[in-house]
Symmetry: D2
Subunit: 279 residues, 4 copies
């Protein structure tokens, strides 16, 4: 198969107000015949340069109504235009430009980059198969400074980790979910709702939080809340890349340290992941 | 000289509410004698490990009231404790954790990382010299999609750039300023005010913006506004790393493109910088 | 499942001569029951910290005879020690330290890091299934400045790429292959032989090279040569991340440019990949 | 001032044999008047795009005889062509392509990237001042597994580091030196000689090494050897970014560990630097 990455910016005006979407598009294609590999016969090969042109032309003609719709448009174009394409997958990722505000007033043409979780989506289709749409968020860094522990784990002669009932839970989240038949979805609205679910399940109620007995359980809580609140989601995958913090032992410096000063532990570096679907 | 980098997290509670600061501290030391270099005599050398301990002990004892105060505390400690230190500089940079909000309600112990410009500061002192404090913001990515051009520049036989009066202005800002004698400054409040000045000077009024004839002039506007609004700032340095966008030529694809689809240009990559002080 | 990354260095002496291996080990585990996710029951969970200890203890006891043998040792340990483990995969990657030479004389205890392709391997096992071993090389950057073209590709109204019969072929290679039943393999020797095959297939004969009609065909040549020369390889996957170079058009600077000055093209960025096995 | 980065590849043939240099050039310019900053008057500004064209034209016309000569050529061009330029600095860095060998036979047109230390240089000139040339090597990672210690350092109540007489010394080297009047220098030859001095001073004799009492002393040894062996070097700066390794304590795992298994310590991360010139 072949893969191409294209970055570009789509600018759009309504009166004097500007709207901007900067995206990175990655298109994977697999052809019906591997003759370009086996025989060096390029007659069915769609050059990277042509794929780039198609993506830019679609952006020019249709705009980017939502990341998901744009990914669907690209898939459809390749499937309907090129009979030699057996499979197409398009990945679209957004540069997180947000409108700038001055004293609460939105600016008509200025933007600031706020990377507090990156939105992405995928559309995928095999010839004669259904078009499947995924969406997700990545690079979302979250921390809770209490209401987290890790106890009752398996122990043997290689165990040196003490049990802890009040540690810091910190990590980088990757979430990706699939939609079922996605007729007339408001993708932007659903995505925002899911992001809120993720934050709520991670943090718990604002006034007291909710105890997490492990990274794994927190992963599951996120999945359960999204599945229960957002009916359009069929399957959800969550990966939590953990950052561990150790309370610094200050005894030989003559000081106590009641979880006040902690250092991030670079290694071992862990992650846990789970994929959960509806029955 | 020697340099050390330490990352840690300082947690602080007021009742059930948690406050978190995660910082990266870098301490530069120069000793009065270079004997450890020339003779391999280590008797005056303060090991990296000791420096780490000192920074953590200070964080434990004093907390991190502000980045600047913490940098000052470290400088003072080294100058008063070690007579072999001829010069000390401490750099402190913040991991941009922000309190999480659910439906507008702040969470008591959960945080999200929002890297829309990283705050840092420096405190620097030579023995018998004044303590100088710098503060700054880096990795601040801004874009304005109109009200920017570049015309009337110098031309010769190597010039191929056309003049443009409506281009995209996009870049990554680095700003660093020095304070004068900093008695009783509210460093957090001043920093926020300066950040607002930077955004305002970059973007112009929310309803119409302000025309920028060059990256250089925008750099100067930022400096002028900060110096005029914030009396504590003595000198301000601004570096703007430019990202250029080219309007895609779609003529041979049979389409016009009225600044709707643009691609970022990786090379040449430019930056402009200027340092401006008060008379 | 869970995943952990550990970095460490294993030092070994024969007389006064030192041998060093620095590796990054990543262990993936899947348990027979997902109860830690669903119920927050940690009783079967093997903490990251324990996994780290096991890896370090195995390195201490057995050393690292080869990356592959070390990966196999870890797999075996987890399968035989923990009945709750349903699946284990270990990935081992080497930091490319090479013995330093002075005027051709090898140094007994000094090393230099030479990252001209990174060696890695994987061992993988499901409970009651066979242990499968993979090996590979990544981040191997190669270039040939002639004997490469791209012609006869598919064309339509979105095609703007000209045909070229003398372009630069440059890319970053990732190769990964699987071994069959690996009794008494000399993994180090086989790996070196495969690396030589890759370079030979990419470059062709030293005095004239061999024409490549596409990145895809070069990928296939590498696979064919490895499979024909190295009987232990069962399946080989090759990914070639292309770097395109454009000849700079210097006409409006009054100069011709006969493929003398070229600039790398950042976007579109492409890659091609293929997996090939024996019949 | 303004700064620009350009990446390109210069290809050159002698008969059927190809020679390739890929470089990154960064040009800093300061103009005689800051009017583009203060007044938005661009009439003296040399656009990034023009600078790019000049660098490419020089590469086409002169080739890249050595990095240093190319940097000198660019400086000279700007000083003689543009009277508004008050200061110019050019930095040139090489992509470390090496000719591929098959069974010891050099390939006529294939290359492999071997980043075991990156070569760079700088040429710098103020109007009416001398042209100064610097050269250097960076990202050179070296390790010695014995003949290194750290003892007799300054101790107080914050000291927790034990004295060690047999530790691992590992780091990333940055070296930069200046040449005096550089008439007819063979820059390639001198650079190779200095690289050999660095390796020799770091490692000591191949059969026994040489004891290093500190990172600082090793820095000084490198400087002393280069200054004594290479008369063209006037001043040499060395920065050594240390990677510390801790012997893993395996007592509570029931094992001794005689410097056999070590883990890299991410923080504190230190570096030491020194600049040394001739009397």
């Amino acid at each position: 198969y072949g893969k191409n990455t294209i970055k570009f910016l789509r600018l759009h005006k309504e009166g004097k107000k500007h709207f901007v979407k900067e995206v990175e598009v990655c298109a994977h294609l697999r052809l019906t015949s591997p003759q370009e590999y086996l025989e060096g016969n390029n007659s069915l090969v769609i050059p990277t340069d042509t794929i780039k042109n198609i993506v830019l032309v679609l952006a020019k003609k249709n705009g980017i109504p939502s990341l998901e719709q744009f990914a669907i448009d690209i898939c459809n174009h390749f499937m309907t235009t090129f009979c030699q394409v057996a499979y197409v997958k398009t990945y679209v990722q957004e540069v997180p430009w947000q409108r700038l505000h001055e004293d609460g007033v939105p600016h008509i043409h200025s933007f600031i980059c706020v990377p507090d979780g990156i939105r992405f989506c995928e559309a995928e289709q095999c010839r004669n198969g259904p078009l499947i749409v995924f969406a997700g968020i990545k690079d979302l860094k979250l921390m809770k400074t209490t209401q987290s522990g890790f106890e009752g784990f398996y122990k043997n002669e290689h165990t040196t980790l003490p049990e802890r009932h009040d540690r810091i839970l910190c990590g980088e989240l990757f979430c990706k979910w699939s939609y079922g038949e996605c007729k007339d979805f408001d993708f932007d609205c659903i995505w925002k709702k899911i992001r809120e679910c993720i934050l709520e399940a991670f943090a718990g109620p604002p006034d007291c939080g909710e105890y997490s007995p492990s990274y794994q359980k927190t992963v599951n809580c996120i999945q359960m809340l999204v599945l229960s609140r957002v009916s359009q989601v069929q399957v959800i995958e969550v990966v939590l890349n953990n950052t561990f913090y150790n309370v610094v032992d200050m005894k030989n410096l003559g000081l106590s340290n009641d979880k006040e000063v902690l250092v991030p532990v670079e290694a071992p570096y862990g992650s846990c992941a789970c994929t959960l679907g509806r029955k």
